[in-house]
Subunit: 346 residues, 2 copies
Amino acid sequence: MESAIPQNLEMKRSRHKRVPDDYQPPYPSFVARYKPTVSRVAMAYFGVQYRGTAPTVATAALAEIAGTFAKESGPSHWDRARYIDQVGHENVVSVAYWDDIARFDAWFAPAREAWTGKARDGIGTFIEVLRPSLARHETLFSSSDRPEGVAAIAGRMSGEVQEHAYWGGMRDRIPLSQTDAMAPGGNPELIRDGTRLRVEAHDNLCLIRSGQDWSDTEASERKLYLDEVEPVLREGMEFLRDHGLGIDCYGNRYMRVLAADGSVSEKSYGQSWWKSLAALERWAESHPTHVKIFGAAMKYLSTLGPSAKLRLYHEVTVAAADEQFFEYLNCHPKTGMLAAVETASA
Amino acid sequence: MESAIPQNLEMKRSRHKRVPDDYQPPYPSFVARYKPTVSRVAMAYFGVQYRGTAPTVATAALAEIAGTFAKESGPSHWDRARYIDQVGHENVVSVAYWDDIARFDAWFAPAREAWTGKARDGIGTFIEVLRPSLARHETLFSSSDRPEGVAAIAGRMSGEVQEHAYWGGMRDRIPLSQTDAMAPGGNPELIRDGTRLRVEAHDNLCLIRSGQDWSDTEASERKLYLDEVEPVLREGMEFLRDHGLGIDCYGNRYMRVLAADGSVSEKSYGQSWWKSLAALERWAESHPTHVKIFGAAMKYLSTLGPSAKLRLYHEVTVAAADEQFFEYLNCHPKTGMLAAVETASA
């Protein structure tokens, strides 16, 4: 049993963990371990938005960003997913990860200009970036043999960690929680730069990417996931999408991961922006929509036990104000962090 | 909005609350407020145990303890409840509360001798007492107009309190949590005193009495409680009774409160002994049996909203080693805290 907090990020605590030192989790979970030289990661969401079937310009944009990723100093890993949002627009988001900020910064400036610096006919584009220090970031995996998302750029997975399977584990896995409550600072503001819209959020904005992979499930397990768990998960994701602002969730996307050939895979993830880690905690722990998700997952996992082939993971970041970048071009006003600010023209 | 922690028990914190200072609970709850002169309460469980229909000696014992309660320095409030335990014995428990420890101590010594100092033919008797300082104790009520249990001896109910409706609220309401993790110290030990068996437990043993009152419910609400909630609650209570030791629950009784005339009322409570507050937290937050109870209660309350007539309350104590007393005479080895120790003769 090891701590989810890596040794080089252990600090003299002024805040306690939520569980006693002899706490034993009831089942194993794992976290991504970065090379000791890594102090910061970057995660960049590049979105394309359009209505109806993909116009040629959208297809071209997707090819273009893939090409840009392949350039010098591009990401160590990227994946792509799609979803139809609350106003019926298709969104295809390519998510890229770096473990070297100097490389990311060198790569990003021209990539940004190419992506949101010029309008594309009939489609919107957006960029959402966090570049947190590792002290502001955590991951969790139900199995250690298939990294997803940011973990794909980590060197390896941990052994079994202690800080999971209790409410508050997410916070306890974030190294900064040893000394800091991570309270939010202020409200998101809209910055107009011609037709480009930027959002400047605030200290301790929180991002979660929480994924499901049912590609290994078979027969009755697959049916159980698709019939009993997925509909409840979808309901919760739609609640956050449509009513999240009332509980300080700025936006949620329930994404279906795309395979390399563009077809849908048997993987999904919810990706949501929160005013604070505390707001995410409150929803997860007590909102009826997530209590239902948790109940369905518990029932599923207790029915299947260790034989379950469903894989679950998440990555959570609580970003400082200067670790964030949000920029939208020709996107509708409910896109991403735009939903958190008033974008109507005076 | 007020803190559940009374002002005279506020301490300079070395441990943080689980929620931010601006946390707003989603619905109202209340706590018992004692007179400022009260520093300690006593709660004493006097049990009668037998098999089958009540023998005359059991009826006589119940009348006797009621008479003893009525004596000088007797409790300010007492109530009575029954349940059939895991080996099929009937248990009738009279629970008495004091807010003045000098009065309790004066009253208790002869009452104890009378209750567990002499064998009664065909029945067992037991005494379980906690006498915690108020810093080691908390209550919670869904409505402020009907005190139950220890709250019946408090002067009044609070206004709406902040520290509830999140996991960890129970701990945050206990004043000692401001400075102390309340970790358990050691294991329960059996003390033989002739045929009387005493259990000496350990620092930070935890007791919860968690009650339900459906006497005001009508028609569809009553049906919903009895058909959808109560069976799930019962299942959880039986799990704790039969399998609690594996998760550090020493014992659980799912009691039905008796009216003054001895008939069953429409009130019940679960009463359980735990190795630590942390163990109780873990069960409540993540064990499938309590997750089901929580889910059923959430569904019930969200269906009914503020019109719900079901009343819920609990009282929780984390007792120091010298605030406890457990004594059993002619009871079977699974009775109360006896279940936590080996009682078989060598």
